[in-house]
């Protein structure tokens, strides 16, 4: 135990590893216990079997799996929290010191400008000394981070054993790397997961019974009755938590991919938890298959990166793709950018091929993976077969393709257009699963990965990301307006909010997007759990048309949900306000610079209003007005404390988790500042208005990145209030509108439906995406399947039948050959022998005298022959 404490003391990054492994341990424990239970159950007639069976729960198994899983995830939360606090403390210490040095340096430089010549020399010396100090400090922070907060080990070696050659891409590693983002993600995921585990203990209590009746499955003997699956549910939850944490922990893309697939399979298992329901198993399949499409892109991206960069490690990839901040000769003009150019294969020397920088070049400059002591960041020669300390080049389109491939994976996981169809169907799973997986964490993995891989994306890829997000958020929000299933509304709102995040990442709002990811996780988990509480209270009724007026019956749920609704609508001082405004501000800043992308601002702005409208609609339809279904209303009740306690905690978080000082300042959010620490310098390098400063070496293409970055920050800052106020105005109007329709009943929603029947049908039909896919994908696939079946049945089977017919024919011929020739020969030999015997038997007369005669004649013959030889011998 002491060793463990010492380990954590020196390598605090291991806190996060421990937090990741705890849920895995819980999964393994529950799995083993269930295996023992099953084994015992099979032999429960014997005393030993019965003992094992009873030891592991017997017929009525208790809540132990839930306690194990909840304990594990709570422990993981504690680990993450300690790790997060230590990380933040260390980081802020260093940053304060660095900031002080920078301020001092700045002062000295200002002094130098105004000083007389006499002083200049002395000042310069002082500046140099301060610069050295600053550099030293920055180096210390970097090394502290790499020493204490990251680590890895070789997992698979693809070369012959003994050769460790990571440069040729022969080693797959497992590792961890902690920065502010992953530390925050850890705390967020474990915290929400803990609450959802607690909530599930109440929500899933029906599954504790040895026999559960599933009212939605009809068999010949009435409803289906099956064994309860309480333990299984928590086992899957544990596995899911492990996968998600491992995904956040990973320091390389391959490990991310592993967790990615694990998360996918957990999602599949949990969506299909009520596996007997046709709809649930269909939804599980749909989710899994849709994600496979995305993962195909992911794998392509991985292959491209592996082939061209020879590594999966994030840091190494970024180091190769993005220009370094400085080299031996000071800061680099294109710091943090992707450098394009042309390679001339005809102009080759020993040092490599000629590389000419060009803004529209077909190649991308790859920087050395282990830079030598003295080197130029921008070179004129690239190597064909580079050593770790040499530059090389790769085709630009391949880098775009790699980025888009990985983004396609994220599109699948985060349910973005055009792969958004699976998420609403995934609501077939139990509600805590919807909250945990399909709102707070798993779908966040896609956004998280886009954020993580940001330096990999070229400008073209980013535009695609932004438009994907833009389309998704609008489409999903419009569908959410007409949905009447309470969980479906939330599902579409999730898709829409994920669209916001993607859009933000695409327009350079790296911080804004990931900030929104954090805040959204809290309020969306809250909203889902509230809907779960409502559904539980109404005895598994999900249709809002049968609810109404539930407020007096379930006050805690209603008030918590209201907090979530206000947060997602973006009411000031609620978490959503900070993050959504940041996204809008970034989008506004982006369209200032690129006016042709106007829609990237208009879509999220309008959608902010729509979001407020449909969320208010949902809350009002559920909790206010007259009860629309007496039966549901009469039986409605508030949920037990294990379910309401997480709601209250999450509600508090949804209100104040993003606060900073002063609270009313949208720029001062504590959470946002923490996310900001993790921002890769590439983000700043990419998004700024282009300042064509005259450059020393390479003409006017090379621009000063640091300057741009400041400009961009300035834009976003100025825009923040404008964008925020615009959105707030729209939100207010929408809320008022929703209130008029669904609360005051000034307008009847049914009339609106009748007024625009085609629009309503179109939205109810989810923009006809399912039909579209059915027509262009599913049916063609079925048709192709039928063709293939026909082909199999007729051509392949025909060939096989032909073959067997030929075989039968050949064996017939063979039979004839065997009978006639082989057997004939054998018979012939036999017959000859028989005939010979029949003839020779006549010699055996049985008469003694004839034998004597033969004997005598033979003796005489022998005698004569001998006599002849003797005579010959005598004569010779």
């Amino acid at each position: 135990m002491m060793n463990l404490v010492e380990l954590f003391g020196e390598h605090p990054g291991w806190y996060f590893v421990a937090a990741t492994l705890t849920p895995l341990l819980s999964f393994v424990l529950i799995l083993l216990a269930s295996a023992m239970w099953c084994a015992g159950r099979a032999y429960r007639a014997t005393p030993a079997g019965a003992a094992i069976f009873n030891l592991f729960g017997g017929e009525e198994r208790g809540r132990i799996p839930a306690f194990v899983a909840t304990g594990a995830i709570a422990l993981a939360f504690v680990f993450s929290l300690i790790g997060f606090i230590r990380f933040t403390a260390q980081q802020s210490t260093f940053e304060t010191q660095i900031n002080q040095l920078q301020t001092k340096l700045h002062q000295l430089q200002t002094q130098k400008k105004t000083a007389t010549e006499k002083w200049t020399h002395e000042l310069e010396e002082e500046i140099e000394a301060e610069e050295a100090k600053l550099e030293n400090k920055e180096k210390m922070w970097t090394s502290a981070r790499s020493y204490a907060w990251q680590g890895n080990f070789d997992w698979l070696r693809i070369r012959p054993a003994g050769i460790r050659d990571a440069d040729n891409g022969t080693v797959l590693q497992l590792g961890f790397k902690i920065d502010s983002l992953s530390a925050l993600m850890f705390v967020m995921v474990t915290f929400i997961a803990t609450l959802i585990h607690v909530f599930s203990i109440g929500y899933m209590s029906e599954e504790l019974q040895p026999e559960v009746e599933d009212h939605q499955v009809h068999t010949a003997h009435g409803h289906l009755v099956r064994r309860g699956r309480f333990g299984r549910f928590f086992m899957f939850l544990s596995l899911f938590c492990f996968s998600m944490l491992n995904l956040v922990l990973a320091d390389n893309l391959f490990q991310v991919f592993l967790s990615w697939e694990l998360v996918g399979i957990c999602s599949y298992l949990l969506i299909g938890f009520y596996t007997e329901r046709q709809s649930a198993s269909n939804a599980a399949n749909k989710a899994f298959i849709t994600n496979r499409i995305g993962d195909a892109g992911f794998i392509l991206g991985l292959l491209i990166l592996w082939t061209n960069l020879g590594t999966f490690n994030f840091d190494e990839i970024f180091q190769r793709v993005r220009a370094p901040l400085s080299d031996t000769h000071g800061s680099v003009d294109v710091a943090g950018r992707i450098v394009r150019g042309n390679v001339d294969p005809n102009n080759t020397t020993k040092a490599g091929q000629r590389f000419t920088p060009d803004e529209d070049g077909s190649q991308v400059l790859l920087f050395p993976h282990r830079p030598p002591e003295h080197y130029h960041a921008i070179v004129s020669r690239v190597s064909d077969n580079p050593k770790p300390d040499q530059h090389s080049a790769m085709p630009y389109w391949l880098l775009v393709a790699a980025g888009l491939g990985i983004f396609l994976g994220c599109v699948g996981k985060s349910a973005q257009f055009p792969l958004q169809v699976w998420l609403p169907d995934a609501m077939e799973g139990p509600t805590p699963v919807s909250a945990l997986i399909h709102a707070a964490t798993m779908v966040a993995a896609g956004v998280y990965l886009v954020g993580r891989c940001y330096p990999l994306f070229t400008y073209d890829a980013l535009v695609v990301i932004a438009y994907t997000g833009g389309i998704t958020l609008f489409v999903a929000a419009t569908i959410a307006v007409v949905m009447t299933d309470i969980k479906k509304v939330l599902a579409y709102s999730t898709v829409s909010q994920l669209g916001y995040m993607m859009l933000a990442l695409g327009v350079g709002g790296w911080v804004a997007g990931l900030f929104h990811l954090m805040t959204h996780a809290f309020f969306k988990a809250l909203l889902f759990l509230c809907s779960g509480s409502v559904i539980y209270g109404c005895h598994h009724e999900q249709d809002m048309l049968k609810m109404g007026g539930l407020f007096p019956k379930m006050k805690i749920t209603a008030l918590s949900m209201l907090a979530g609704v206000l947060a997602i609508a973006g009411i000031p001082l609620f978490t959503g306000w900070y993050s959504k405004d940041a996204i809008l501000a970034q989008a506004l800043g982006f369209i200032y610079v690129h006016p042709q992308h106007l829609f990237l601002f208009l879509l999220p702005l309008v959608t902010a209003g729509i979001t407020a409208f449909y969320m208010a609609r949902m809350w009002l339809m559920t909790f206010t007005g007259k009860p629309r279904d007496e039966h549901v209303y009469e039986h409605a009740h508030e949920s037990p404390w294990t379910m309401t306690a997480p709601l209250i905690i999450l509600a508090v978080c949804s209100v104040c988790v993003a606060w900073g000082w002063p609270i009313y300042d949208a720029e001062a959010s504590w959470l946002e500042h923490n996310v900001h620490h993790a921002q890769h310098h590439a983000v700043l390098a990419d998004f700024g208005h282009v300042d064509f400063t005259e450059s020393k070496d390479h003409g006017e293409y090379w621009v000063v990145a640091k300057k741009q970055a400041q400009n961009e920050r300035l834009y976003a800052f100025h825009n923040h209030h404008l964008a925020g106020n615009l959105a707030l105005g729209l939100v207010a109007i929408s809320l008022a509108f929703a209130g008029l329709i669904y609360w005051k009943r000034v307008l009847d929603p049914a009339e609106a439906k009748e007024q625009f029947p085609s629009l309503h049908a179109f939205l109810m039909d989810k923009w006809r995406f399912d039909r579209l896919y059915s027509v262009i994908l599913v049916r063609p696939a079925l048709v192709v399947g039928h063709w293939l079946a026909w082909f199999d049945l007729h051509v392949i089977d025909g060939l096989i039948h032909l073959l067997s017919w030929l075989t039968v024919l050949a064996s017939k011929w063979d039979g004839i050959f065997d009978n006639a020739i082989v057997d004939g020969l054998v018979n012939l030999v036999g017959n000859v022998m028989y005939d010979a015997g029949a003839r020779l038997r006549n010699v055996q007369t049985g008469y003694l005298r004839s034998y004597v005669l033969f004997l005598v004649l033979a003796a005489a013959g022998i005698f004569m022959v001998l006599a002849y030889f003797v005579r010959m011998a005598m004569a010779g």
Partner: protein, 105 residues
């Protein structure tokens, strides 16, 4: 000059006796007759042995001993053969060996 009896004469007598015995065996259908033929053949051999013992110093003892053995053998053979013949007679009520054709191929 007195006609000197030599080895050749004895060998000639032996051969004559042998041929007589062989012809007797080959022609007689009576089992007793065949037995007599066998005796003739054996005695022809005995004459040869004795003659060699008399005229060849190397075989002086061996020839005598062989002759004695052959006489003993002939006695034993006659006893056994007569027993066979008796049995044969009991089975077939005749001593005609042509009736013994059960082993005919």
């Amino acid at each position: 000059m007195i006609f000197a009896v030599g080895l050749d004469h004895f060998l000639l007598l032996g051969a004559l006796l042998f041929v007589c015995g062989a012809v007797c065996m080959a022609t007689k259908r009576n089992a007793i007759g065949i037995l007599m033929g066998v005796e003739l053949v054996l005695n022809a051999a005995t004459i040869n042995f004795v003659a060699f013992a008399r005229y060849n110093p190397v075989f002086q003892v061996e020839g005598q001993i062989f002759a004695l053995f052959v006489i003993v053998l002939a006695a034993a053979e006659a006893a056994i053969a007569l027993a066979i013949v008796l049995n044969f007679y009991n089975n077939h009520m005749t001593v005609d060996v042509d009736t013994a054709e059960e082993l005919k191929g």
